[in-house]
């Protein structure tokens, strides 16, 4: 990426932060909080997620067979099924159906799939009037904008925005001011159009193969009206929406509204097996009976392939097809919460899962625009009702983009010099961050000179220009004596124990930059009677993985496992300070290593405070740790939260009598390299401001964070020293 491209990207993000950020933030965080509450009250949540996941896996596996079952059912009901290869095919078919119905007017309910094929434009080109009847979509139709969210397409707009828009566009006698006035106007305006329409078009959230049923999940009631008022009903949806039968629908009804908006169930969950036996409605003659029981209904189900069947064959993209379009991945994403779908989205789809959808249906170049906005924080992993590993899809697509990019003019500088497994044409910025371990090693060997050089303005200028490393960020300061060297120099372990040996994993940051927290961890563990070893072990591969450098990460994963195997075989536990590295061992390595190697490492690795908690539970003396009467403000780490480990740190603090307040934001906004990148610096700081605000009243407390990135971000935000929990607990304060 050139520095011009970076500047353009930064400017676009800045503009969206200023214009849409506030409304997007309010609405997505509201949905997200409601989702947390709904899930907490839903006892069977995990079991139902597993059930839904299994049904989708099976349905996609059996898709060709289900399509044929569905065809029979729809035809038996008296409707027609059409499978469209692509957008043009779908639009041609829909155009013919509308034409045959003598249709001048089509009314639609909300459907992302019809956004994908741009059916409105296709119909309008044939002089058909098309009306969006979902109020959010109607706002966008008037504004001529694209949806910014899968569920709330216009949630980037406030009431005032919409009032201004409608006042200009419709020029009412009395200007609109309130949401009630706008809603009433839109309802009446669209009500007239629904009653006069020739064709109603809906999407379908789920399609049941053995009964020919479409399921529509809505809150307004417009989809019901569009489906039953006009004589002709066209339902357009993706071919992946098919479930075998009604008996499979339960978990999805239980999950979709909870995941989307935190409602237990949506206002209307319609199951229509059209043509339905509802009478057709005739509003043309006011005196005539409204219900024409002998009227003819016609129904067309248009299933769109448009790349989906190829996604089904693509091992990495396949699980995108399990998506039920609830938007939880967007609502739980810190970057999305701040900038919204007009930055975090491609041609059609928005949010974390959009990378999968865009790559599959619109092409990988559409995903290129926004893929980097996924920081891999993994908060969406627990939010997804069908357990899609969304960060992994983002990583895979990033890796494919790395291999796709045009050769850089600096290839000659790079090739042969870097220790990674990636192609020469890899973006320099990604290469730099992905190989942070190499930089740290060299930096440490030559510190403090390396730090002076890195801090000098000509070098920072060059780093900004060539690699997009923002000059407003302070670079990590490398330590001459690494943790591994310090440990060897002190003569290794000070405690000998026959019961418990821990290998303290020297992650790259702890080893070369934040050495104090490593020493504190040794101190804490030894105070609790644990024999500690710190061997020289390579980086976990987190840095390259975050840049989409999967081959490099895989090679690191193998090296780490090979190095640690002998200790695990000898009965040692692996203790990890940095949560993002533990997440590699416990989550990401599953994708990078053979199952047995992954199981071995994941089952024997612990986050350091999780380990301390276990030691205390098993009788270690809490008195051995520092319980100085200090007040703390603690920020857990996004990946630590996904793994459910934040509670251990809080429990240990509580046990030792600390007075602690905790943050509840999804992510600090730094996310490893993300906050260093000049195109994302402002977004990173904007995301961080939410965290900063939570601790703004905590100036009298010691700020504590588990992750390196979080510490850096909090240091920048609060201009305050930030400590790791082990530094608080270490008996002599270090």
């Amino acid at each position: 990426m050139s520095s011009d491209t970076r500047r353009r990207k930064a400017a676009k993000i800045r503009h969206l932060l200023e214009t849409e950020g506030e409304s997007v933030h309010e609405n997505t965080t509201h949905f997200n909080e409601e989702r947390y509450d709904a899930v907490e009250e839903f006892d069977d949540y995990e079991a139902v997620r597993a059930e839904a996941r299994a049904i989708k896996e099976d349905a996609i596996e059996r898709l060709p067979e289900l399509v044929e079952t569905l065809r029979d059912s729809v035809e038996e009901n008296g409707g027609t099924l059409y499978i469209a290869d692509d957008a043009a095919d779908a639009n041609a078919y829909i155009g013919d159906v509308v034409d045959e119905a003598g249709g001048d007017t089509v009314v639609k309910s909300k459907s992302m799939t019809t956004e994908e094929i741009e059916v409105n434009e296709a119909l309008e080109a044939n002089d058909v009037d098309v009306w969006e009847t979902d109020l959010g979509e109607f706002v966008l139709q008037v504004a001529d904008e694209a949806p910014s969210h899968l569920v709330g397409p216009s949630l980037h707009r406030t009431t005032d925005d919409v009032a201004d828009l409608f006042n200009r566009y419709f020029d009412p006698d009395e200007p609109f001011e309130t949401a009630e006035q706008l809603t009433e106007f839109a309802r009446d305006y669209l009500g007239d159009r629904i009653r006069a329409a020739d064709v109603g078009m809906t999407g379908a959230n789920f399609v049941l193969a053995d009964s020919g049923t479409i399921t529509l999940v809505t809150n307004e009631g417009n989809a019901r009206k569009c489906a039953v008022t006009p004589d002709t009903h066209i339902a357009v949806t993706g071919v992946e929406k098919i479930l075998p039968s009604l008996s499979d629908l339960g978990p999805f009804i239980e999950l979709i509204a909870r995941s989307a908006t935190g409602q237990d169930i949506s206002q209307y969950v319609s199951l229509f097996s059209p043509p339905t036996n509802s009478p057709t409605l005739d509003f043309e003659d006011p005196e005539a009976p409204a219900f024409e029981t002998d009227g003819d209904r016609s129904f067309h189900l248009v299933l769109i392939d448009n790349g989906r069947l190829a996604m089904r064959e693509d091992e990495q993209l396949r699980e995108t097809l399990y998506c039920i379009r609830c938007g939880a991945c967007a609502n739980s994403c810190a970057n999305f919460q701040h900038v919204g779908g007009h930055a975090f989205g491609g041609e059609t789809y928005t949010g974390g899962i959009a990378t999968g959808w865009e790559t599959g249906v619109n092409g990988i170049e559409s995903a290129d625009e926004f893929n980097d906005l996924c920081t891999g924080c993994s908060r969406c992993v627990t939010a997804c009702p069908v357990k899609i590993d969304i960060p992994w899809i983002n990583t895979v697509v990033r890796d494919r983009l790395n291999h796709d990019h045009d050769s850089s003019e600096f290839d000659f500088l790079v090739e042969g010099l870097t220790p990674d497994e990636e192609p020469a044409r890899l973006d320099l910025q990604k290469r730099a961050f992905g190989n942070f371990e190499t930089m740290a090693k060299v930096g440490s060997k030559t510190a403090p000179v390396s730090n002076w050089i890195l801090d000098s303005s000509p070098i920072r200028d060059g780093m900004d220009r060539l690699m997009g490393i923002d000059q407003r960020r302070e670079l990590p300061s490398f330590r001459r004596e690494s943790l591994v060297d310090w440990f060897a120099a002190r003569g290794g372990n000070k405690v000998r124990s026959t019961d418990r040996t821990a290998v303290l994993y020297p992650d790259v940051y702890t080893n070369y930059v934040l050495v104090e927290r490593g020493k504190a961890a040794v101190n804490v563990l030894e105070s609790l009677g644990v024999e500690v070893i710190i061997p020289d072990v390579p980086g976990s591969g987190r840095a390259p993985l975050s840049q989409g450098m999967i081959d490099t990460a895989e090679s690191k994963a193998k090296q780490v496992t090979d190095r640690l195997r002998r200790y695990i075989d000898a009965g040692a536990d692996i203790v990890v300070i940095e949560p993002s590295d533990l997440a590699m061992f416990r989550r990401d390595y599953e994708k990078l290593l053979p199952a047995r190697a992954f199981d071995m490492l994941s089952e024997n690795s612990y986050e350091v405070l999780e380990y301390v908690f276990g030691l205390l539970e098993n009788g270690a003396e809490a008195d051995a740790l520092s319980n100085a009467d200090s007040r703390l403000a603690y920020h857990s780490h996004c990946q630590q939260r996904t793994l459910g480990l934040d509670a251990y740190t809080e429990a240990v603090f509580e046990r030792l009598g600390y007075d602690v307040i905790t943050s509840d934001v999804e992510c600090c906004g730094m996310a490893g390299s993300f906050g260093y990148k000049s195109e994302y610096y402002e977004l990173s700081m904007d995301v961080g401001s939410t965290l900063g605000d939570q601790f703004s009243d905590a100036t009298d407390r010691t700020i504590v964070a588990s992750g390196t990135s979080c510490s850096e971000q909090l240091t920048d935000l609060l201009s305050s020293d930030v400590k790791h929990p082990v530094e608080i607990l270490a008996p002599d304060g270090r």
Binding site: N27, N77, T133, D134, L135, G136, V139, G152, S154, R157, T158, T159, D160, V162, A179, E180, L182, T183, R187, L190, G191, T213, N219, E220, G221, N222, R224, K225, V228, L246, S247, G250, I253, E254, D264, I265, S266, Q267, Y268, V269, S270, L271, F272, S273, P274, T276, N277, S278, P279, L281, F283, E284, D285, P286, E287, A288, P289, A290, F291, T293
Partner: protein, 169 residues
């Protein structure tokens, strides 16, 4: 058990701000009179012992009557206790439009047709599907939208929903 389910249903309706009352078949007309605003349209209830014949509700309305109606009266095949949902089965007599177009919907459900949760309702519906009645809507509370920047009730569907539970003999 059955009483608990009815109580749960009533409690869920309460959370949704949906008024509800229980009545014997004999008290039905009186209960209905309290809940409807005229003009009203309705569909045959198909519930033994009660009927809309002697009420002011218009069955088989003209299109103008449907548009002008202040209340629509329909049966609900089931009530779902967990959420206060009403299962409205599509019918040739117009349950779908009558429950949808007028600003107030009054649903009539037999006490014995209240089930604990959505899974139970789907199980019952499975039998209906087998018998060819394959269209129905779970309607929960009033229609609503947040699309104009704040929550507004009463969009394309009713802004006012009321439930009459008819006690079993």
């Amino acid at each position: 058990m059955a009483t608990n389910v009815v109580a749960a249903f009533e409690s869920s309706l309460g959370t949704l701000d949906v008024p509800c009352m229980s009545t014997t078949p004999d008290g039905f007309i009186e209960a209905l009179t309290e809940y409807i605003e005229l003009p009203a349209v309705g569909v045959p209830l198909g519930i033994e012992g009660i009927s809309l014949e002697e009420t002011d509700a218009t069955l088989s309305p003209s299109s103008q009557q449907l548009v002008d109606a202040k209340t629509g009266i329909t049966p609900a095949a089931l009530g779902v206790a967990a959420h206060g949902s009403l299962l409205l089965q599509s019918s040739p007599t117009g349950t779908e439009p009558v429950s949808l177009y007028p600003p107030r919907h009054v649903a009539v459900v037999r006490e014995g047709d209240i089930v604990p949760d959505v899974r139970d309702a789907l199980e019952w519906l499975d039998g209906e599907f087998t018998d060819g009645r394959r269209s129905a809507v779970f309607a929960t509370g009033v229609s609503a939208t947040g699309d104009m920047g704040a929550l507004v009730e009463g969009v394309h569907g009713p802004a006012d929903v009321r439930v009459i539970i008819v006690e079993d003999r």
